[in-house]
């Protein structure tokens, strides 16, 4: 079994090209997970455009992609109209909703391509674009990969996803204001150094993942002014990674105001926190153009 995870877009909220974001990248959320011959695409932010370009370079084989969206805010769908395989008749793109019968993601993707927003209508795309769902809460097996979703805290809602095969597991949890689900958010604010009391069901969802890709947009100082915006403190997702016993934590959905140096400092603080808990979790910042091999 082989499992490769490639980051095509790691930025949150809005694309941020420029010298200050050169190292970690300015494209918005898009992650490719390739498990054996199956390809899963997690979110379709502006990084999806470059994934499409790369897929064409890989060879003439038709593109088969299973597309999972955390939610449908702009920074998670904006790459789709520029995803070249969507225009090719041999491509097959499966757009998954969450639970049985959920077709919202397919509908909203097509909505952003109405003529008021984009010159090419969704119905003009030549690919075979199929609306599907993940079935019951226990999830679904897609080409041998167990796929589950988890309801998160974000304005309008969002979902985390777990992909697992042969004991190798990737959890993708972006746009999740974990801090709002703490047992005592006020206590966490009073004593930032204390371990956070996390929702047990979220810890269970992430338990034992080889890689947790998690929104870690804010520093402790920033979060105070942004409660309710839908994103967590990086320190809180660090505690999540430690308590769930994951192998690696990729801090994701970088704040558009954060420069590369700022992100390095944030990751440094998270590593100090991991060391304080005596954990072996490897923490790093998700970076555009980086590929990990798991298992």
């Amino acid at each position: 079994m082989s499992c490769f995870v490639r980051f095509w877009g790691t930025r949150g909220s809005i694309p941020t090209p420029g010298r200050k974001t050169h190292r970690y990248g300015g494209n918005t959320s898009c992650v490719e997970v390739r498990i054996d011959d199956s390809m899963f695409v997690l979110d379709g932010g502006t990084g999806l455009r470059e994934l499409g370009v790369d897929l064409l370079k890989r060879g003439p084989a038709p593109v088969r992609a299973h597309m999972l969206f955390s939610h449908m805010h702009w920074d998670h769908i904006q790459g789709f109209p520029f995803f070249v395989p969507a225009y090719l008749p041999n491509s097959r793109l499966s757009i998954y909703g969450t639970f049985t019968g959920d077709r919202r993601h397919h509908q909203l993707l097509s909505g952003q391509m109405s003529s008021d927003y984009f010159p090419v209508d969704f119905s003009s795309l030549n690919a075979n674009i199929v609306a599907s769902d993940l079935g019951p809460p226990t999830g679904r097996i897609i080409e041998g990969v167990a796929v589950r979703c988890f309801d998160q805290r974000h304005p309008g809602g969002s979902y985390a996803y777990s992909l697992e095969k042969d004991g190798v597991r990737v959890v993708y949890s972006t746009d999740n204001e974990v801090d709002l689900g703490l047992a005592d958010p006020a206590a966490a604010q009073r004593d930032l150094a204390a371990p956070r009391e996390l929702p047990p069901e979220l810890v269970a969802f992430c338990r034992g993942a080889d890689l947790l890709i998690a929104d870690g947009q804010y520093t402790d100082d920033e979060y105070v002014k942004k409660v309710g915006w839908g994103h967590p403190r990086a320190s809180t997702v660090t505690d999540l990674a430690v308590q769930a016993g994951v192998g690696q934590l990729a801090i994701f959905h970088h704040d558009p105001m954060h420069s590369d140096d700022h992100i390095d400092a944030l990751v440094g603080e998270c590593r100090e926190r991991v060391a304080r808990w005596g954990s072996g979790v490897i923490v790093f910042a998700a970076r555009e153009g980086m590929t990990l091999k798991l298992g």
Binding site: F4, H22, R23, I282, R287, G289, M290, T291, L292, K293
Partner: protein, 123 residues
């Protein structure tokens, strides 16, 4: 007494201005080996692809028994160079994190077992 409107400007001699072309210095991308057998050395990244490994056939040979014969490949792309692990025994580390592949950025460290490199973007 009245002053001229602009004494300095009146001294400027008007003429046709030829367009001048500057030739900024061009420096290739580089890997600087700072630790391990063979260090220190500066490797100019030229061409489209090169192999680093223990093999005598590798474009950049590192005489270390802990490197694989073909440890990593570097490929030139539109935006610099990409490093990829060639299924090596001891892996590829970018800024201390084990990876499979990455597009390199200025100041990145690349570790192949006991050999440590720093990447510098050209201009």
């Amino acid at each position: 007494m009245s002053l001229p409107d602009d004494p300095l400007d009146s001294a400027t001699r008007a003429q046709a201005v030829p367009v001048l072309t500057a030739r900024p210095s061009v420096r290739s991308h580089q890997l600087q080996q700072v630790e391990g057998p063979g260090a220190p050395q500066l490797i100019e990244l030229r061409g489209t692809s090169l192999i680093i490994g223990r093999s005598p056939e590798a474009e950049v040979r590192i005489p270390s028994s802990s490197l694989s014969r073909q440890h990593v490949r570097l490929d030139r792309g539109d935006d610099g160079w990409t490093v990829t692990d060639l299924d090596s025994s001891n892996g590829l580390y970018l800024n201390e994190i084990r990876i499979y592949s990455a597009e390199l950025r200025d100041g990145d460290t690349v570790q192949l077992s006991d050999a440590l490199f720093v990447y510098f973007e050209g201009r």
